[in-house]
Symmetry: C2
Subunit: 345 residues, 2 copies
DNA sequence: TTTTAGCACTCTCGCACTGAGAGTGCTAAC
DNA sequence: GTTAGCACTCTCAGTGCGAGAGTGCTAAAA
């Protein structure tokens, strides 16, 4: 589809754009990357790339900017290469985390903080909480038209309460129905198992025939999500990025992240859907508020069980190579620690 | 100092400015507030008020804007009046919190969220954690040049660990010294008591003669601070305020808040220094990043012991009357709940 | 056939200029 | 002490212009 030369030029354009954050012109590519071609030739190729939807011009006399498709091509190219493990970073992290190997909370707290500091992007990690707790009984009570109360009784006799805000009102009898279904379906499973069951159920019944069952499952999922631990760092740093001289984009990001459910959902899906690295570029994101951003995410594991996810959220024009290598390194590292393996940085 | 008329006009100007966020001119005051005076007279009074430092002009042909001093006058005026308890808010809160009276964490979480939603300012609450835990032994270990580990051993034999980031390196022997001093000084006290002792110690020895003792106390305080619970809401809403078309101010606020220690310190001081309401306007704030903002804060109590603080952070031009009434209502309410009193909204 | 040089064209961006509008300070009259 | 009137000042939005950057196209060169 694209010949070798076009590929090279496309990648050069994306790289250039990532570095300089200005529309990049043919002359610049010719000068900086050479390729033994004149700017005119490169101009022609770039025109072709524009026709194919990889680049676009903000206006006639400006250089070109990669489209989401252009970024996607670039990222796929990176991903297909051998991962460059960032040994320096790993060594630094090892040092920082050495003393708290048994404290996953602190580890994630510090890891996200470090990631944010090192990259200047927003760093988020989720860690499903108390996954092995076995649920004995669930009760649901209506508190008001917009709020319901979940009571989880665990095998050890401890009761956990969660309040959910709901948008469409449900009657107490509906809630009783839902509770009955949930108890029947999930009795005796651990929270982790329930999570997975819910996920399977939700993908299986894409056309949910029974509205109540569908609703029950969704409610339960929400309630379990709020049990997660969530670590967020680097908010203030995003402001420093030249991409966001314009405030409105940041505002949307802040709103999306402050509504923790959105992020939790996103990472949750990641944990059970994809394995390993995932990059979500701009419009590929379901969440409207985040379509001006890109996400580089990775699941980390405990033995073979997916245990949580860690990600970087930055501008579409983020330094993907660096972000991918970092997130990968960090999540591999956490996987190793959780699985009791050692690592020699 | 100010005659009755000048006071009235000053208050009118501040109120006007709070509502419209534009420099307010003499004509506007004359029209809207009357006072049976012409704009020329008001102009003269405003010129006087400017000389006295209550108002200032951004430029010759603009109206006037209150200075911090002007705001302070206005706020003192509000504070000295009978508090208007916001019964509607209280009733709403009572409803929302009815089912979780025994869960302070959830209560504060929801309270801050509600406050943020209702006011569009950033809402923060702190709640010192496990204040009655009695400390048996403290150990301090050096982890690296920038990090040390605190081990608190409680009377029940539980060990709590805290890692602190420090700026100036300390040797292990210095840390041992510090630990020895802390153990000697605070043995057998509860965390709350230690907090108070530390606070007294810090104010007493303003000229800290012994650098090591001073350092020890500060370290210990830091470590205890990180035990606090902190609730923050309403970040994204601040963006909506017309005050902040200019991004840089928000950036500073976000940075200040993301550095949780700053906020915790601020609220901590509040808990032990002032009792009841406190309003901090612009430059009155020690924290540089927050000098473009105002804070309306209140301590809440459990019986007679200060238990935590709750505050609203907004632009200097915030609606103080509303903010004060809300924060006061909310903190009174929480005090009542914590103290086991009932309230009939 | 592919690449290159040259050139006219287009569009943005920063800058200076301008007039309307708002608010002031001052003076003289009430 | 208060008010009306007026000249003055400053901001702000809109306009026009020239420099600069990058393009697309054409014709010549490889």
């Amino acid at each position: 589809m694209l010949d070798e030369r076009a590929k090279k030029i496309l990648i050069a354009v994306v790289e250039s754009y990532i570095q300089r954050l200005d529309p990049v012109g043919s002359r610049h590519i010719a000068k900086k990357y050479g390729f033994d071609l004149s700017s005119a030739t490169i101009r022609n190729v770039m025109a072709d790339l524009e026709e194919l939807g990889y680049l676009f011009q903000p206006h006639t006399s400006a250089g070109r900017i990669p489209t989401d498709r252009g970024f996607r091509f670039y990222v796929n190219n990176i991903l297909s290469n051998e991962p460059k493990i960032n040994t320096l970073l790993i060594r630094e992290l090892t040092r920082r985390l050495e003393d708290i190997r048994d404290n996953i909370e602190l580890m994630l707290e510090r890891t996200t903080k470090s990631l944010a500091t090192l990259t200047h992007y927003v760093s988020v990690a989720s860690h499903p909480f108390e996954g092995n707790t076995i649920i004995k009984k669930i009760e649901i009570k209506k508190l008001s038209s917009s709020q319901i109360l979940f009571n989880f009784e665990t095998a050890e006799g401890i009761t956990k309460r969660r309040i959910l805000d709901i948008s469409t009102p449900l009657s107490q009898s509906e809630l009783n129905e839902a509770a009955r279904y949930i108890n029947l379906r999930f009795f005796g499973y651990s929270i982790n198992e329930i999570r997975e069951l819910i996920f399977k159920e939700m993908t299986r019944e894409k056309v949910m025939c029974d509205a109540l069952i569908s609703k029950s499952i969704r409610l339960c999922r929400e309630a379990l999500l709020t049990e997660d631990m969530l670590f967020i760092h680097g908010f203030s740093q995003v402001f420093e990025l030249p991409d966001f001289f314009n405030i409105s984009k940041i505002r949307e990001l802040v709103r999306a992240i402050e509504d923790k459910h959105l992020i939790l959902n996103l990472l949750d899906e990641l944990i059970y859907k994809s394995n390993g690295m995932k990059v979500i570029i701009g419009n590929e994101n379901q969440i409207k508020e985040m379509q001006d951003f890109s996400i580089v995410a990775s699941t980390y594991y405990e033995k073979d069980r997916p245990a949580g996810a860690i990600c970087l959220i930055g501008p579409k024009r983020m330094d993907y190579a660096k972000a991918i290598s970092m997130v990968r390194s960090v999540s591999d590292f956490i996987t190793d620690v959780l699985s009791g393996r050692c690592r020699h940085g």
